[in-house]
Symmetry: D2
Subunit: 427 residues, 4 copies
Amino acid sequence: MRLKSSLISEHNAKLSSLHQKKLEYISGQLDQSGFNPEGIIQKISDFQVAIPSWALGTGGTRFGRFPSGGEPRNLEEKIEDVGLLHALNKSSGAISLHIPWDIPEDYIKISNLAKSFGLKFDAVNSNTFQDQSDQELSYKFGSLAHTDANIRQLAIDHNKGVIDHGIKLGSRSLTVWLADGSNFPGQQNFRKALSRTLDSLRSIYDHLPDDWQMFVEYKPFEPNFYSTVIPDWGTSFLLSSKLGHKAYCLVDLGHHLPNTNIEQVVATLMGEHKLGGFHFNDSKFADDDLTVGAIKPYQLFLIFNELVYGMEGANKDDAPLAWMIDVSHNVKDPLEDLLQSVEAIKLAYAQALVIDRDKLEETRENNDVARAQEILQDAFRTDLRPLIAEARIRNDAAQDPLLLFRDLKMRDQLRKERGSGSVATGL
Amino acid sequence: MRLKSSLISEHNAKLSSLHQKKLEYISGQLDQSGFNPEGIIQKISDFQVAIPSWALGTGGTRFGRFPSGGEPRNLEEKIEDVGLLHALNKSSGAISLHIPWDIPEDYIKISNLAKSFGLKFDAVNSNTFQDQSDQELSYKFGSLAHTDANIRQLAIDHNKGVIDHGIKLGSRSLTVWLADGSNFPGQQNFRKALSRTLDSLRSIYDHLPDDWQMFVEYKPFEPNFYSTVIPDWGTSFLLSSKLGHKAYCLVDLGHHLPNTNIEQVVATLMGEHKLGGFHFNDSKFADDDLTVGAIKPYQLFLIFNELVYGMEGANKDDAPLAWMIDVSHNVKDPLEDLLQSVEAIKLAYAQALVIDRDKLEETRENNDVARAQEILQDAFRTDLRPLIAEARIRNDAAQDPLLLFRDLKMRDQLRKERGSGSVATGL
Amino acid sequence: MRLKSSLISEHNAKLSSLHQKKLEYISGQLDQSGFNPEGIIQKISDFQVAIPSWALGTGGTRFGRFPSGGEPRNLEEKIEDVGLLHALNKSSGAISLHIPWDIPEDYIKISNLAKSFGLKFDAVNSNTFQDQSDQELSYKFGSLAHTDANIRQLAIDHNKGVIDHGIKLGSRSLTVWLADGSNFPGQQNFRKALSRTLDSLRSIYDHLPDDWQMFVEYKPFEPNFYSTVIPDWGTSFLLSSKLGHKAYCLVDLGHHLPNTNIEQVVATLMGEHKLGGFHFNDSKFADDDLTVGAIKPYQLFLIFNELVYGMEGANKDDAPLAWMIDVSHNVKDPLEDLLQSVEAIKLAYAQALVIDRDKLEETRENNDVARAQEILQDAFRTDLRPLIAEARIRNDAAQDPLLLFRDLKMRDQLRKERGSGSVATGL
Amino acid sequence: MRLKSSLISEHNAKLSSLHQKKLEYISGQLDQSGFNPEGIIQKISDFQVAIPSWALGTGGTRFGRFPSGGEPRNLEEKIEDVGLLHALNKSSGAISLHIPWDIPEDYIKISNLAKSFGLKFDAVNSNTFQDQSDQELSYKFGSLAHTDANIRQLAIDHNKGVIDHGIKLGSRSLTVWLADGSNFPGQQNFRKALSRTLDSLRSIYDHLPDDWQMFVEYKPFEPNFYSTVIPDWGTSFLLSSKLGHKAYCLVDLGHHLPNTNIEQVVATLMGEHKLGGFHFNDSKFADDDLTVGAIKPYQLFLIFNELVYGMEGANKDDAPLAWMIDVSHNVKDPLEDLLQSVEAIKLAYAQALVIDRDKLEETRENNDVARAQEILQDAFRTDLRPLIAEARIRNDAAQDPLLLFRDLKMRDQLRKERGSGSVATGL
């Protein structure tokens, strides 16, 4: 399914006069406060966040899964879905593939298909947390950290293969998330497991092209419930440092212990030039994979405060940050959920752009705590949605993507095309 | 120190034209969305939140305290401070006293003083977590839950005395927060301790005038670090139910285990007509007592969503909710912190007032999850600060209380009056 | 597969002399400390904990599942597995069925089969967290709390049906665990959802035979990640109280927020005569469903401290506590995991039986905190394993069940019988 | 007060025959299992854990403090108290001083006093979390991380001074715990604060003698409640790595977010040769500073499992680990609490010594998870208290130190000597 641009124009035309009024107001306000609304609109326009191929179907838990049909049945349809999102919001111009779920049969055809939707291929993702049906050795007790060298080699080779797939599609980075860990005290020799992991990662690292990055993800628990081999940013940093300048840490917002100050982790990693990628989602309890900004929007804003600050000061050599959404839509339409997630990210980004940084640094130097809080809250409380809508409109995207998605009954159309029983690969 | 009304008028006049423009805009927007801005302004105008007498000085931790002078040295000066706050924002029209720190020498004089500032006396608070210098028996091992009947009686009598003080000042409720608990497994017989607490509370309850309420607070830990006698809302509810219709639960936002869904607790208690009072603050880790809305403003909004919904459906017989701020200002000026806290509360309240409740209920009935989220986020993302400023202006308070407080160098004045070494009673 | 008693005798004979020496030693020690070792052995002998039918296969997470074969393929084989456990430890004399996974085709045949292994039928469990293949209406958005009366009725009827199955097998209780809840703020009207749940439970309650109990389970999150309808003991208690004297709360050790003092919850519920059942497991982070005692054995002991204390003081009318294991074996052999779990439970029980309760109460009355700790730690640090082994030997079970299970290569035998690809129903 | 050795002999003689029986039994058991009881007794005998000077008085919280008299009034009496502990258990042969609370007037006299009790001087501790009465600049907004270079210099000079005091007493290490952080989002520029801290630490590091170590402690919150400059092991590791080979991380058991796998942190730090010191205590919620082993004894054992494993494999160049107790005794006699803490540490150490490491590694290599758990649990469940008592007896310490402390009414004696109102410096 491709979205006709005329439908977008019609949608935008209908909402235009109300939007103009709002835009004028907020532009005037920002102007008065010394900000340049045009510059902010431009930055929002340029902002792109990748969509993972596994987020296009209904997610589930160990207790069950309730798909509602119309899900993409193959890589082509996944690209179509992301194309649809990108047509609606012009901020989802990349897809992140998951191997082995998304192995193209014809790379050129797939590349052209993506190009036709204006999509790039973002980080490729390996999978060593599940056994494939044809797999002789099992990842039950780990992959890159396994005690058995043969299984480690299997996992290493898989990751190298993932890089090879990525090269053919124009990806520039590999994300490694390891489920490796242990469920019980005593099960694993922590130090040996970490050391084996480093060795395995080194083999993969050596296979990386020069202009690639490797992102090392961390997570404190699940699917292992006593320990994981890379539980926290410290361990990810340790590994990335030993691996070399192409290795970076990847922060997933749902992969932290309760009460972690994630914005500080982001700041520290940026300070060390070791923040490579970001998996956006939201959570209340654990790795809940909820819509971005649905639970803790202020935390999201504080994280963007660090990101914006860090990006301004980034090393020349730093790779650009790889942004990706990583949510699971158990009770929402996946495409609607993704539209909401992208919107929340752009809102937080915009809010971080209207922080008066000079004044903020001044109040910090003076330890004027109340005033520093006022400056952040002022930015957060300002209603910047018209700027984000304007950025879309200028990009020929929909002013209100979710509304248009519903007005056009897109999911119904997809269900007709793909069947009401279609289920996408994913979790 | 009394704030001259002319200073407020001048302040407001200066900011008037910019404010008018913002007010017009947001009023128009709300109008268009089917809300009545005048009604909302009125509700915000009417909203009052009590200031605890112990929040007027610099707070501290077990590691130290860094007061910065000008703190109230006695009850009269505490009333003056709250009077100052009330003059600035006209939303702090009540003070909540803590006995024995705030025992008046002359009740009539104190009453008149409060009246002269437009202040009422909110809930009175007892203190059985510290030993007073003249106290023979110790609360080291508890008070209302103590194994020793004499110590329980001391604590009961103290609470009765607190009620008596409150009666003389026109208070209508007693808040009981118990530090009782244990630091080590085995220390306390849980069931006996709870049973003794119930008996003690019954004695106090019997002393309550008919038109009074008793608020039973809960807290999971600190100053006891293994168990507390009333750790959670369930225990508070159990006790309140057994005590009778004058007993209610009190929710302090910082008194929950990590990740607790506090808004749901509020909803459940309101559904049972057992929510009596609220201690507002914010926290990231524990009972951090930070400025309201400083860490989790969306949670605050979700709580107000329940409060507004509950207040609309409150039983005729329900006592009005007792709102109080309970923060500790370790690194901010106490009065500035309180101004920020009141502002955050009113903002969350206003946001909850612009939730489209009919549509929300409709989406809930249809399990349209994405749309329900949109409705809440739309209210939260709307910039309602001009309405709150307008409510203040109409009440002859300052449009920007914090700004005026600073412009007038009020803390410097207080320091001159009271000395730079003055320290208020409190924690 | 049935375990020949001669194999057990041979096993026990081999280990006998070493065991006798240990038994003599610890019996002498206990005797000297004023305990009656024979009485303790008898209590351990009598102790039975039910095995859930869904714990006989390899468990998994949303990320995958790694079964290792030989799992029971039907209800008959599940009963066989529990029969095997019971033959090995004589403490697993009951099976808890899950409907619709375990609907018997022939009740009499199934009853006789269970009887032949010395097994009873414990609580029956309903399932409204998954859709069955033939189900027209979906539980995607809830069951007993659903907004749609038809779906609620479906779930009510299912629960009534579960009771009916249970009646035919001699069960005496129904366990209701609800996955109902919400993933996002706004999705659910908390108060209406709770009220609908109460109404639904009432319909089910009315269907309960007079000598049955209903257990209302609580859980803070998963599979819903923002709220659950029954998140905590307080809500379970509220519902059970309103339902009536046949309704009780059920505590699952993995269903609490971080740092919850579970032993205190147990104490409070026992004090209110509302503790009905227990799901044993262990956890570090969330509902990890790990082997009992694998992570926090001291907490388990403290819980048994309350249970033993409470059982001594139970009301005449109180139903006996329903004990059940509820673990998920992702990386262990399910039967081995269950043997370890039962052992850990009995060890904690035995330790709680050698607490000097008179002295403990005395130290508590005197607030001799250090001594109270000593008393508990003394019981916990005593090595009581010989008593547990002895209880087994006297019941003609194996002295070391895990060792015998391995020596006889039982899993290999089961794999031969059932195939290496057999997978049991469950999570 | 000095404990007469004859009192110890009498005490030991009285308990001797029962002890001998227990010792024989457990020695026989261990022998049979292939362990050498004599070797274990020797290791326990050699084990020493330092006592901090601030743990000799009653601790408190921000809500209050309930001292019970007889506390040491000066450094001499603190040394006496530790001397008493050491006489009782011969495992507390070092005192850790806190500056400025413990500045000696006469170094030689103090050194000789300590020597007379068999005590060494362990790590010296600086204090930049409180303002001293004569201090012109304030640590209210930080010390080594402060925005003001003058305040940083003050804190640097203080730390250098602490080193100088330590040199005169024979200490070999400095522990730096920083309270620096922020209470509110926006207050602090995370990256600048971390960078300033590194610079400050470098200045201090340069002042360290060659044979000294610097321990960098981390803590996630308190007394700052939004962020701390060194919140986790990752940050401590980052700093220590940049500082150089004399800088190490210090782990305090109460300084972690909920559910942290501390034993894994210990393993990782040992693997990097960057674990320098340990502060023992226990906690349920936060930095509760409870008696070691009182809440999570199995976690303590798992930590010792790593420590024992790590010490066996330590680099030749590694500094020996600095062990210290860091507890706060709010409701117990400080000396009794310390005796219990030392006992718990030695018990965990002994249990870790009877882990069958060869078998454990073998089961790990084979991913025999159930067996690995059995091996750890077997060690933990074995009652090794007689070995610990024997180690004491051979060192001329008391078989049951707590019992003797009580039998001799030592606290009463101290109260007589020092007064019932004496209060030690500390928290």
